[in-house]
Each structure stands twice: as C-alpha cells, then as structure tokens.
Assembly symmetry: C2
Homo-oligomer: 335 residues x 2
C-alpha cells in the first residue's frame, strides 16, 4: 500500500516533507510513498535513504496560500497537489494522501479530483485536539463549511465517530453538540434542528449539548459543530492556551531572581504541559467525507508532523474508515 | 441618583448582595441604593451601616434559574427582580439596575418591564474580559441572541463602542468582527452581510475580521459577534484558561519536592496571573440596548462583584451611555 505525499506543500517544503517521509518509511515497514514535486530536487534530498520505496511523480507547479483554491485547482494541473490527488484517485494501491499545503486548495482539490463518499453532502475538517486529561478530542467541522444544514451535522457526527474509532482507538466515542448551553433546548436554529436528528441517529453515541468550556475537558471524544463556530472555538482555545503560557513567561521574566529560580525548578512541569497542549503533536487534521483518507498537515509542519500524518492515513485505511462512515450514515437523513 | 439592586438575585443572596451594597455606599458617596427583597431580613443584614442611604422595596417572591424567564416575569410580579425593574422604569431618580439572578430572567424582565432604546432591535449581553496585555476587551453579544441578522451586529458594534468609552475610558475603541479568518471576505453568510455595513458605519472604528485566537490578545477593544458564536468563544476561553491552570496545578502536585519548591517560589506570579485572568474581576456583564443601564452580575457574585457592578451602572450613567448609543446608531440600518 502506498501513501501519496505532496512534496511541495507547506512552509518547510520540500525539506521537512522529505525528512518526514524518511521517518515514516522507517516507522511503517508496510507502506511505500508516492512523492510529488521536482523530481531531481526530491531525489537529491532523499539521497538514497528510501531503499527504493519512494516513487517520484515529477511536477512543475506549486499552489500557494495566496491563490484562490478553485482557480488554482482548475488551472494548475501540473502542481504537486493536483497530480498527487489525481494519482490517489486513479491508483487502487494508493490508500490516502498527505499535504501541508493550503487548506482551501487541499479541500477543494480533494472534492474536485477525488470526490466525496456517496451520501456525504459536504466534507469537513477534523483536527485532533489535546485535552487536559491527557487524551484527545476531535472537533468536526472546523472551517470547511461556514454555513451548515442540520443533516450535515449528523454526517459530521458519523464521520467523527468513525475517525475516533480508527485513530484514537475508542470503541464507543462520546459525541456532543457544541452549543450555547448544556440543556437540550439550547442552541441556535441550526442546532435546535440538528439535536433531534443526532438523538435519532443509531450509529453514534450522542450525549447532548455541551458548552465551549468543555471543549478540552476530556469529557467528550467527538465535538460536533458547524464550521464557523467550530473554527471560532478551536482558535479561541489555541489563542488562550498560547496567551496564558506567554503571560506566565512574561511574569517570570519580570519576577526577579525568585521567580527565575522557581521557573528552573518547574521547568520539567512546564515542558510537559507545553507538550500536552501542543495542537500539532497529534499530526494533521483529517478531511473527512472524501472517498479516500486525506490528512491536511499544519502549514508549518516539520518532519515529525508529516510522519504522524502519514501514520494517520495508514490507521484510517487499516481500520476501514470509509466503509465505517458509509455504514454509519442514517438512511433517513437527506438534504 | 439611585441604583436599584436586586437583593435576592444570585447564589449568595441576600448576604453577599447586602455586603456589596455597603461597599458601594462607602466607595461612591454620590449614590443611594434601592434594595428589593424581604425588608426585615435585609434590614437586619444591613444593621444600620447605610447611614440611611438604602431605601427598601419589600418583595415576597424570588425568581430562580430553573424557571422559564418569560413565565417567571409574567407571573412573579412580587419578585425582587420584577419590582426592582418596575421601580427603575417609574423613577427618574433611579439611574440603573444590578442583579446577580438568572441571566434569562434579567434579560427578559428588562425588555418587558423597562423596554429597549429606540432603534435597537435586540439588546445584547456584553461582558468585560481580561486580556493578556493586562487590559480589557468587550465581547458583544455573548448569548442574548443565538440567531442574528446583519444590522443587529452593527447595533452591537455601536453599543459596544459606547460602553467601551464609558467604562473602559477608551476614546476610540478598536472594533473587530469575530470570524473564521482575518481576510475581509471570510465569514459565514451573516458575517459576510454584516461586514460592509460595519465598514459603512461612521460612529465606530471598525478594523475588520478577527479570529478566535485574538479574543484576549489585547489588540481589540470591542469584539462583535452573534450571540451563539460569542457564547462559544467566551466559554472556550474561560474553559481553556481554567483548564490550563488546573493542568499546571496537577502537574505540580505530582511533580515531587522539586516542583513543589518551584511552585512556592512562583506563587506570587501564579497569583498575579490568576487575578489577571479572572473573568469576574471586572464586575458584571452589561445588558446593552435597554433604556437604562442594567448590569447582570455573575450568579456566584461575592460582595466585591456586586460593588463593581454598581460602579459600572454609575459610570454608564455619568458617561451618558444611552445618549451615546442613540446618537451612534446609523440612520440607514433598519431591519
């Protein structure tokens, strides 16, 4: 089985991508890689370290964050992203795709060149977040769909459940709907319409409404949201976490000798917390709803993130996530 | 000038409310208090410490968090909340109202018994949040209106601007729209429609879209949002802040002697940060859009929060916030 990797996606491409691929080849002996990009450049970076397990697909164009995703996918047919997705679609041996490129382009490209799972209205972005209990939580959708209809939220719940089973190894993921209160009747019009549909959906373990304050509590495994509020919640969480650690650092630097000494003693504790709350530690965000597994790795991905993302694709394939999503979709929910 | 205070609102009423009132009487020599609730009980708690500056309005009912706000306001005419609001409306000497009771009941009661400012479609809840720069930011709306129309967001921006001038003392508050990206074209349908209206509104200093990660950055003074996303963002921020401090505490407790020693040395730093990030330090949340200043103090309010809330009402009155909102409303925005 082969994982297709966009060799020229992300801020640190192609160097970090190549290093991540080498790491993944060492970690997963059962996979090969299809790597897209400038073949000569990639080969010189790999420098024979792949034992012949990388196949190169030469491409001459790169899609940037600044371009309109739709225009870029339409016109840059020779890009590392489009040629990678085309190969994924055409080749049954290719099990999935990893890119650290523009989120919009990966999303649009995946829909246009690979296609959706039958029954899925709109694919969704699903990152893995850390929780304060040391585990993880999935948040779906985080930005692919700013405006949603109620049945889409049910589809998100089904996809999130399948993904939690595949990559977090949770047998019965606890699903909650992100809302403005915990009571059943809370919510905006969208949520109020989605709530009974989620209750009825037999393939998920729906526990009801939750508030933003519980996002990283560890009390839920899958948090379902429209893409707008999900994005607001995700970024508020990241911003607050980073902000508080920054505040702490500033206070220590201004706190004189006593504070600095205290910091030295607490250094292992801080390091641990920083690691626990690292939003990129768990690899990339899944793009769920596409006919094959797609992981969008963070734009600033280093080798380790790329390697993790390849591992996620492998997990999703081995756990049959696409079939799991298909069979979980309620027959009665149509848009 | 008199501030009406709901003597029986909140988890710690009437004791904490009475203590807060006494604090406020000491802090603001220019105000008197109208206090609602069981007169005998309140008088015995005050115990002559008011110098005759408290007027008691005897009431026999209390509205709880468990009741439907609309039903409660309709039927509990003898409640400390309803009689307080009625007095506020009827008496020109009363400049505003403070309650730590049910948010829904205070909101519904204020609309039904006091009424809106002419031109305001729906009042909004506006808390004052701490920022990591040590200042404050206003978030409007935080839950009064789960579903909004675009012109309402402009009204929120105008009200938030007037409030930032009145209580934060900022001459030209920086206003941003909470969205799923910083670019002008980002947003859901609501935000995309509101964006140009905010740009056109001459009475505000609109800087464009912002992401959840900037909520407490200190780069903006007024963050405008529909009540659903605003609530999600506020609670995600609170939950993350509390969660990280909890994580830190747990790690220190499990970190052995070294960590505990480090903690002792850093104690003043932690205390400072906890104070900086205290979401209740700044008093209650304003209910903007009502014809007179209303502050909803936190349900768990202690004396100090009640005192702060009374101070907020006083500031709002002295800075003429109602006139400031009226004159800031664009003539062209109608629903």
């Amino acid at each position: 089985m082969k994982v297709v990797v966009d060799g020229y996606g992300g801020d640190n491409a192609p160097e970090a991508v190549v290093e991540g691929v080498i790491m993944a080849l060492n970690e997963y002996p059962d996979i090969d890689i299809v790597l897209t990009g400038d073949e000569d450049k990639l080969k010189s970076l790999v420098n024979g370290r792949d034992g012949g397990r990388i196949e190169y697909v030469h491409t001459t164009e790169v899609i940037t964050n600044e371009e309109s995703p739709t225009e870029a996918i339409k016109h840059k047919k020779e890009s590392s992203l489009v040629k990678g997705l085309d190969r994924l679609k055409a080749d049954d041996e290719c099990i999935g795709f990893v890119s650290a490129g523009s989120t919009g382009a990966v999303l649009t490209g995946s829909i246009m060149r690979v296609g959706r799972i039958r029954g899925i209205t709109r694919p969704a972005i699903c990152p893995i977040l850390p929780t304060i209990k040391g585990g993880n939580v999935l948040l779906i959708d985080c930005g692919a769909n700013a405006d949603c209809k109620a049945p889409m939220l049910v589809q998100f719940a089904v996809m999130g459940t399948a993904y939690a089973k595949a990559v977090l190894g949770i047998t019965t993921p606890r699903v909650a709907l992100l809302s403005n209160g915990t009571e059943d009747k809370k919510g905006n019009e969208l949520n109020k319409e989605a709530f009974p549909l989620l209750k009825e959906c037999e393939s998920i373990n729906f526990l009801g409404n939750m508030e933003g304050r519980e996002l990283i509590s560890g009390d839920y495994d899958v948090v379902v949201s429209d893409g707008f509020s999900g994005n607001v919640s995700l970024k508020t969480c990241e911003g607050t976490a980073v902000g508080i650690l920054k505040l702490l650092k500033g206070a220590i630097l201004n706190g004189g000798l006593r504070a600095k000494l205290g910091y030295l003693l607490l250094k292992p504790v801080f390091k641990n917390i920083k690691k626990t709350m690292d939003f990129n530690e768990g690899g990339g965000a899944a793009l769920l709803g596409i006919a094959k597994p797609i992981i969008k790795s963070h734009g600033a991905s280093k080798a380790k993130s790329i390697c993790c993302s390849i591992g996620q694709v492998r997990d999703m394939h081995l756990k049959n996530i696409i079939e799991s999503i298909k069979s979980g979709l309620p027959q009665t929910v149509n848009l």
